[in-house]
């Protein structure tokens, strides 16, 4: 009836039918194969192994990394189909993915910048979750100002001797390989003397020490490197050219593929249930609060879907990727603040307390929502990037 509807082309309709069929396939596979009950926490050995077994199941079904090229074991899916997979995955309540850093950051970096030898050496085990990967970028003295990193790599024939320290290395205590940035040319300007290389976590000189977060979890580590011998064959991209590779890699940390909207939609369904149980659902204040989160969640979904389409078209502005990160992390935080407020005096209790309302998932989620505004580029840095690269504000 409208002009817009009549502009639909046949190939676009076919693409939609293909994607709808793919969504149904994923949803039905998950309904049959996903674990019925939540798995134990990754913090425990038992939980880690359970998650690893689930990753194996995904791998055997060809669903471990649908966005990877087919030749490397993926399904070669475009960003829209990949987003559909993630939407369906998290809608089903399936376990959190274990090797996210490996599958979404390290793997794609090796695919894009690695040699054929490196691809065949590393990708199969990564995809099958036989090997765990971490990112070794941040240092105690180099967080937001990553380029000021000081871990040094001295080139010596066909090896590089690495000495220094990395921090915030996610899942470091389980990792087999660390994709690290080291300074290999001390005389070059700070962005120009950095090399990206793969460090074997089990090599002599590597010490990994878990850092206890305020939640009691040991989700990340510090990594001490003492004259670690790394073969030059482990360099990714050009020697001294690691900064540009890293910048490319960091773009995968932002934008769609991280804050999938269905996560927040599910949180809100749960929060409405909690509000109803506590007799708050008819209170005008709580209704407005929850409706505000619903509004923000649906607008975030609309922005996310738009962003996925831009990424699929190969033209996704950096400023929008930064904006996307700000939107979902701050939405996640606000939802959790409301949950905390709803639990009232019991909010502070941990699950072992006799008065605890069994809200442990919400408490963990609350602190994670605080961490998300800092990790993967603080929201202040995201705003800086929007200001300079998006708005063209002069410095």
């Amino acid at each position: 009836m409208t002009a817009a509807a009549t502009d639909v082309s046949d190939s676009a309709r076919a693409a939609f039918r293909y994607r709808a069929a793919f969504r149904d396939e994923v949803t039905s596979w998950l309904a049959t194969n996903a674990p019925r009950a939540p798995l134990p926490s990754v913090e425990t050995t038992e939980g880690f192994e359970a998650h690893r077994r689930w990753e194996r199941t995904l791998f055997e079904a060809g669903l471990a990394a649908v966005h990877w090229p087919i030749e490397y074991g993926g399904r070669g899916l475009d960003p829209i189909s990949t987003a559909i997979f993630e939407d369906a995955y998290f809608a089903s309540g399936a376990p959190e993915r274990l090797n996210i850093v490996g599958l979404h950051i390290c793997g794609p970096t090796i695919i894009e910048f690695g040699t054929e030898e490196q691809k065949s050496r590393y990708l199969p085990d990564l995809l099958a979750c036989r090997a765990m990967w971490s990112q070794g970028f941040s240092e105690p003295g180099a967080g937001s100002d990553l380029a000021s990193l000081r871990t040094a790599g001295v080139v010596d024939g066909d090896v590089i001797r690495v000495t220094g320290q990395k921090v915030w290395t996610s899942l470091g205590k389980w990792s087999d390989h660390i994709l690290a940035l080291v300074r290999t040319d001390q005389s070059a300007p700070k962005h120009r003397g950095i090399t990206m290389l793969i460090i074997d976590s089990h090599a002599p000189g590597v010490t990994i020490r878990p850092i206890r977060q305020l939640t009691g979890e040991e989700g990340f580590c510090e990594v001490f490197l003492d004259e670690v011998v790394v073969p030059c064959a482990n360099v990714i991209g050009p020697l001294h050219g690691g900064w540009d590779v890293a910048m490319h890699l960091l773009s995968h940390e932002r934008g769609p593929g991280v804050g999938t909207p269905v996560r927040y939609e599910r949180l809100l369904v749960e929060l409405w249930r909690i509000a109803t149980e506590r007799g708050l659902a008819d209170d005008p204040y709580w209704r407005q609060q929850l409706a505000q989160h619903e509004v923000d969640t649906q607008v975030y979904r609309m922005v996310w879907e738009r962003d996925v389409q831009l990424r699929a078209a190969g033209d996704y502005p950096l400023a929008l990727a930064c904006g996307n990160k700000i939107l979902w992390t701050e939405l996640d935080h606000r939802i959790h603040e409301t949950a905390w407020a709803m639990f009232g005096a019991q909010a502070e209790l941990v699950e072992t307390s006799s008065d605890s309302p069994a809200h442990d998932g919400w408490m963990r989620g609350y602190w994670h929502s605080r961490a998300n505004m800092i990790a993967a580029g603080t929201n202040e840095i995201q705003r800086n990037v929007i200001a300079s690269r998006g708005l063209g504000l002069r410095r």
């Binding site: 009836m1 817009a4 502009d7 809100l268 738009r306 202040e380």
Partner: protein
């Protein structure tokens, strides 16, 4: 909409983009006093009316896009109200009423819409007909049968009145619930687009100011507090544009569930944008000499147009109650 601050909308068609660009060009190239007539010539009043009624048979996306361009210019909203009224009469009106639509197309009549949620449509006193909601029914009243009590407003561009009308059976259009829902939804989504346009123009002006105004030897935009305010404003504007156009696209498909979401969001967003932008402009932004006040006042005046944010949030809450989550399916195919 071009430039580094543009909000890309991959779902728009070539025709839609051309319409919006053409509207922007027309507004830029036409004297303010002749713009209302130019919009009539463009066909905006009958944009959503059926072809057999002399309309252009377009949809909410086209109307929101035009509203967005008007908002960027803080242009008079009367033509939008005409389009909303005409859309509803074309869809739900009696044969005799539908015949009046062609007079709207050729500029012989001017219509407006007055609902409990839209009590001060602009330039209503000069309207030949008023689509008036009363007691759960819609009437197409003759202007001569209405009483207009002029109201004075802070917004220099608005010419408004309280409109009183005693329903006449001959003017009856419909009592259908879906018609009442539709007129309110169409109005809310259209004004979401207009508010997003106001917000965008304010952002563009503020960025230009931050880049050119120097204090302490540097552009004020180089101070992080200012830069971050503008970064936040960018996110608010972009997401408002996405929300208003997406809600319009859904409405075009007969799904109005995203309208309350968009209207609540855009209302709150533009409110925050007016705060951020005036802070960036500082003292000069508080004068009548600078143009910012026109956008600020228009934004404040229309905060409740077709329902305030909290009223739309209440609608969203009701939908949640009924377990009708405002679920939007992904993907929307070609959009």
């Amino acid at each position: 909409m071009t430039g580094v601050l543009a909000s890309p909308l991959p779902g728009l068609t070539e025709d839609q983009l051309a319409l919006f660009a053409g509207t922007a060009e027309m507004l830029a190239g036409t004297h303010p006093e002749r713009r209302a007539m130019a919009l009539v010539e463009l066909g905006v009043p009958v944009m959503l009316a059926a072809r057999e009624h002399g309309g252009l048979a377009m949809g909410p996306v086209e109307l929101v896009g035009v509203a967005f361009e008007l908002g960027q210019q803080a242009e008079d909203t009367a033509t939008l109200d005409m389009a909303i009224a005409a859309a509803v009469v074309s869809r739900y009106g009696e044969v005799a009423q539908v015949e009046y639509l062609c007079r709207l197309a050729n500029g012989d009549e001017r219509w407006t819409v007055r609902l409990p949620r839209h009590v001060y449509p602009n330039d209503a006193a000069t309207a030949t007909r008023v689509l008036y909601e009363h007691g759960g029914a819609l009437y197409l009243a003759a202007g001569a049968d209405c009483v207009f009590d002029p109201q004075h407003t802070i917004d220099p561009g608005r010419n408004i009145a309280r409109i009183s009308y005693h329903p006449r059976p001959d003017d009856f259009v419909t009592r259908r619930r879906d018609a009442i829902t539709y007129v309110n939804a169409l109005g809310a989504v259209t004004y979401s687009g207009y508010l997003a346009g106001l917000a965008r123009r304010m952002l563009v002006d503020a960025v230009e100011h931050a880049n050119s105004r120097e204090q302490f030897g540097v552009p004020i935009g180089s101070f992080q507090a200012v830069a971050h305010r503008l970064a936040d404003t960018f996110v608010l504007v972009d997401s408002s544009v996405v929300a208003s156009f997406r809600a319009a696209a859904d409405l075009a498909d007969g799904d109005d569930r995203a309208v309350a979401v968009a209207r609540a969001y855009c209302g709150d967003a533009v409110r925050r944008v007016t705060v951020n932008v005036l802070q960036v402009f500082g003292g000069i932004g508080f004068t009548e000499e600078h143009h910012l006040h026109r956008w600020l006042k228009r934004a404040k005046a229309l905060e409740s147009a077709f329902g305030a944010p909290h009223e739309h949030r209440s609608l969203v809450a009701q939908a949640m109650d009924q377990r009708e989550r405002v679920g939007l399916s992904f993907p929307r195919g070609v959009r």
